[in-house]
Symmetry: C2
Subunit: 317 residues, 2 copies
């Protein structure tokens, strides 16, 4: 029997991920707040739902791919829990009809996979809320960007019940090549936080190195070629280097979202007393880029800021 997947959130990442599920032979029912973004899924052979609850009802597996913690809480627990009861134990609420959210309308035994990047403590709370109803909720954030989503080669870091992980593994492998269970509920989000910390730091040093090379008149295309082969080699240089050298900062992954993620990272580091000197500086630089009005650019626009700080670009660009 074909597995039915409710997919909620069909943006830059969710759209191509859902399309890859259709291509892998799953029955995918998609929902997105702005309905136009459901069209590509329908064109690919998926079905349209009129609400998140409708996408979830009758599904064997429900996937959420949403911008931030409150969005996921609102969809899974219901509006009140997401918007008014943040930080409280919201798991008890949400039994009063459609406003209760997706968890209250799941089929028995259905599994939720939240692939958004959210706070690890919220992921743990959602897993508990699911468990109270007999449903498993996995946190399974991804890395690899829009390109990785389109090509189905994402890295997927999964926290939560290991049996649930094993049962949904074929679904995850339709979207990613590296699919790893990293620990109990919330662990996926913790690893994703570490990922975003590293990505911010690497993006910034790559930007600094590219401006350094330019200032010294070196052929940067050739430099990138040789730098990629050595100990400085990294996925950002490989996947984003060419676009950065062309000055193409179309997202990709928006500065706004990376800023949000770095809020999760710095809070989680603070809670555990972990010193992240370079991570914290990179978070400041991303926040500054956003404050200057560049929140909608790809996060590789950190390069613009290094150029500006080095007097190699006007302040208003």
């Amino acid at each position: 029997m074909t597995t039915t997947i409710g997919f909620i959130g069909l943006g830059v990442m969710g759209g191509p991920m859902a399309a890859n599920l259709v291509r892998a032979g799953f029955d995918v029912v998609g929902y997105n707040r702005s309905p136009a973004k459901v069209e590509p899924l329908v064109d690919a052979g998926g079905r349209r739902a009129g609400s998140a609850v409708e996408a979830a009802a009758g599904a064997d597996v429900v996937i959420t791919m949403l911008p931030d913690s409150p969005d996921v809480e609102a969809v899974l627990l219901g509006q009140a829990s997401g918007e008014d009861a943040r930080g409280d134990d919201a798991a008890g609420g949400g039994d009063d009809g459609d406003s209760a959210g997706v968890l209250a309308h799941l089929s028995p035994g259905a599994t939720v996979i939240d692939m958004s990047t959210i706070r690890p403590d919220v992921a743990r709370r959602l897993a508990e809320a699911g468990a109270q109803r007999g449903n498993r909720v996995l946190d399974a954030p991804v890395s690899g960007g829009e390109r990785g989503a389109i090509d189905g080669v994402l890295s997927i870091m999964v926290g939560g019940d290991e049996h649930a992980f094993t049962s949904v593994k074929p679904i995850l492998h339709a979207m990613g090549t590296t699919v790893v269970h990293v620990g109990p509920a919330g662990s996926g989000q913790t690893v994703k936080a570490a990922n975003q910390l590293m990505v911010a730091g690497i993006l910034e040093v790559v930007s600094e190195a590219l401006v350094f090379l330019d200032a010294h008149g070196v052929d940067r295309e050739r430099a990138v070629e040789v730098l990629s082969g050595g100990l400085a080699g990294n996925a950002i240089l490989e996947r984003k280097g060419a676009a950065m050298l062309e000055g193409n900062f179309a997202p990709g992954f928006r500065v706004d979202l990376h800023h949000k993620d770095l809020g999760i990272v710095t809070a989680a580091a603070r809670e555990t007393g972990v010193a992240i000197p370079v991570g914290a500086l990179a978070a400041t630089l991303v926040a500054s880029l956003r404050a200057q009005g560049h929140g909608d650019l790809d996060h590789s626009a950190l390069l613009l800021q290094v150029e500006q700080l080095s007097g190699r670009r006007a302040n208003d660009v």
Copy 2:
């Protein structure tokens, strides 16, 4: 006719690089200040020279692989130039016998390849000094570490005369897989400086991420596996991650040497007004690690410092 290569400096990097040249069929005459380090080359089929000048005399190509700018100046230009005339135009000196250094004893048409990591301005000065005698001097620093040197898979970034580069390319390919001419004299060193900037920043964020994951109780081996597949993926995590998790900080590439290289990076950035906020912070953290007596450890020992700053390791370790 077999090409004869004089190889000066047979340390952690130079030793295996010279051995790879022997394996590729070249006639290699090696010299090292501490003579014990010549033994492995002789065992591999190379020959021993009693001095740098002896290694260079009669060679078609002379390779230097030395710790720092003054060492290379002393060997190529002679002792006085290297130690007393630093920063001056030392190219005029060095015609007074054996103390004059290697450049004064080169065969006509012989090419020098300096593979050390030194200051770009010194590299340019050495190229000029060579040109005055009709010899080409290329700057060809490497990345890839001891492992890359042993396996012959280094990245080699070459600055200087393009015809000379073409003629020595087969020699460079016996030591590295990525061999790229990046521009005129000094360009190789500029690209290497950018490499060291990136390596320091990436090592530090990798260290911060590993401590972050540990503090949150995540299975770090699995986390490294999934992080390697995403946008945070990098050569340091891949090549040094396992040793770092084991707490194995045997060099490899010593903190002392990376500290020296970051002096080159920060000076070159300052000269051109390039802002390197994360690079400068990473340089400070490497300097601090060294000041605490860890200069002889592998540079991945930045992890120890993050653990210490996070209260997860005693100060005296």
